[in-house]
Symmetry: C2
Subunit: 374 residues, 2 copies
């Protein structure tokens, strides 16, 4: 048997598969019309499972049985996507779980951030809401979430990810815990400075104050010195503490803005290892709203502790051509080696591919939550 002949046979088979696929999609469209008339739902799990059993029974060996199962999971997901699209065109499933809005806030919105004057969170807030923003600050990320939850603030600005140090894991955990939603994001360039009382020499320093995240970001610089490193809740607190200490053995790592604010002298600039260090902040509120032109969806879900389960969850993204930008896993407290996954993907809640993927995930994942579309 020569290769050319084999390939010719494959080409003929492929032509038939394409033709059958198009016929199947055409009939799927007609099923959608029937569903529009009768108000039936698109995703019928029992029927899909029965279909998989039937097509697997048609195969003649284990390898093909498995392959056919995978193939039909993909084909049925595409049929569903087509049907969601047609139903949306027809206006039949226009009601989204989030309310689409044209603008997010009025000038009188009240915004909370964690830390103190001079914090990077404050800089991110000003860049997003403008100089005239009506704001206040709290001591912890949790306090900021509570302020949003109970409505004493309309929005919170929280750091979620740094381009060098990675995720701020506490924020992920708080997003899972509270029913608050992401409505925007703001990226801020980070340049950590070493600062102390005016006139201090680097040789005088014995103790450095900063947030653990900033200490980690500056590890390479700090390892060149033998300073005691003290963890603070915020860089701005660290600068404030050094300013109030009147002690030239103390220094802080914080922003240049914080140095100015508290009258400290910058002894070294850019002490964080990466010159392209940035932090991404999210804007969070307690209402389920999204900007109508939003482009990124964030969700989280838990995965049952079974082999193959994460693989099935991710297939919903693959089969709907949804590009994931980020996947983070966080341990679920009290359950050993079980994880909650946080996924960001490109899309808008009104897209039929997004609806299709979310519908499938809601059916199969545990505690799936849409964290926001922004």
């Amino acid at each position: 048997m020569d290769l050319l002949n084999l390939r010719k046979q494959i080409d003929e088979i492929d032509e038939q598969i394409v033709s059958l696929y198009e016929k199947r999609m055409d009939i799927s469209g007609q099923v959608a019309e029937y569903k529009i008339e009768t108000g039936k739902k698109v995703f019928d799990k029992a029927r899909e499972e029965e279909k998989l059993r039937k097509v697997k029974a048609l195969t003649h060996n284990e390898f093909n049985s498995h392959g056919i199962e995978e193939l039909f999971e993909q084909i049925m997901s595409m049929s569903r996507k087509l049907q969601y699209g047609l139903l949306t065109e027809h206006g039949s499933i226009g009601k989204l779980p989030f309310i689409g809005v044209d603008r997010l806030y009025e000038e009188k919105a009240r915004v909370v951030f964690q830390g103190a004057d001079g914090a990077y969170s404050q800089a991110a807030m000003i860049q997003y809401f403008g100089e005239q923003v009506n704001s206040f600050h709290v001591d912890t990320f949790r306090d900021a979430m509570i302020a949003i939850d109970e409505g004493s603030a309309d929005f919170a600005v929280l750091p979620i990810e740094n381009s060098t140090a990675g995720i701020v894991s506490e924020i992920y955990d708080l997003l899972a815990e509270f029913e608050n939603y992401i409505v925007g994001e703001q990226i801020i360039k980070i340049e950590h400075c070493l600062m102390a009382l005016p006139g201090t020499k680097i040789e005088d320093i014995e103790i450095v104050y900063s947030h653990p995240q900033s200490l980690m970001q500056s590890a390479r610089f700090l390892n060149e010195h033998n300073w005691q490193q003290i963890s603070m809740q915020n860089n701005a607190f660290a600068a404030k503490k050094v300013a109030g200490s009147e002690d030239k053995h103390k220094a802080a790592i914080a922003s240049e803005h914080a140095a100015k604010l508290y009258g400290l002298e910058v002894l070294a600039k850019g002490v964080n290892q990466s010159s392209t260090n940035s932090t991404r902040f999210i804007i969070v509120t307690n209402q389920k709203v999204f900007l109508k032109d939003a482009k990124k969806v964030s969700i989280c879900f838990e995965v049952p502790h079974e082999s193959g389960s994460l693989y099935h969850m991710l297939s919903h993204f693959i089969y709907n051509n949804l590009n994931m930008n980020r996947i983070e896993s966080r341990p679920i407290e009290g359950r050993n080696w079980e994880y909650r996954f946080f996924i960001d993907f490109d899309g808008n809640l009104s897209d039929s591919s997004v609806k299709n993927a979310l519908r499938g995930l809601r059916e199969e994942a545990r505690n799936m939550r849409i964290l926001g579309n922004y």
Copy 2:
């Protein structure tokens, strides 16, 4: 048109698709025979791309063109998996990048861990290698990696993940940086204790020493007190420091084993929030070996900064039914918002599905590296 009739038509189409699929796989098997005879490679990227162009050209609308592209990517991946399987049976691609071994180490193996006597790493090492292990300790994770790299130690024991606090991100970065390989893992239950000089009362404490990871794990307990928190390189160092200080204002958070070792009194047990807290340690060496019965593969790769690229990478796992246990992303230093992904999945390097997925990933991802099979 009624629903039953539409579904009957779909069933007929599906029967034909199954039959064509089985025929295609049969011919694929014959192609494999040809490839075995001629020594041709399984994955022919140019031919797959040409095939995708051809089948897309057969469709009649954009939606179907996209669907067919996805479908044939899956079908071709399955053909490849079949061919890898047949070639392996035939012994044609028996040479794996890692050398399979029946046992990993001799009794005289030298093992390095980070920290000091009493560290959790030491406990993990003893559990894996036994009480009689020939070991030494170094100050930093990097030092341990260097010891392996230059051969002054045969194995290193390093913490990679905690069930409450999440990943130890530095270890991930070091795995990407060094050409060392994971050959085993060991899970240790973590119970942090607050300890101080004998006779100390909780009210006396003003300063607490520990590793930042342990401080975070004990945040809820620590937040009830107004103690200064000082970051140390290791819990065992913290215990040693308190023991040497003769100062009853100082305390450490470390293991009960460390308290005994340094003669400290345990003032509170289980101060970490989760009662089911465990840490997973990896065993690392500088040779590309794996135990023949290994069940988990760890890899890392970078994803080009294009929309859809992560989605394409993950499809290699989906199409080969490989279950991912973990996905972690770490920022790549100096490249803003570009990520290196670390994936653990079930499998052995000699499985044809694993070969198929790794071959596809190597073709499409950037800097794909197999970190180990264990």
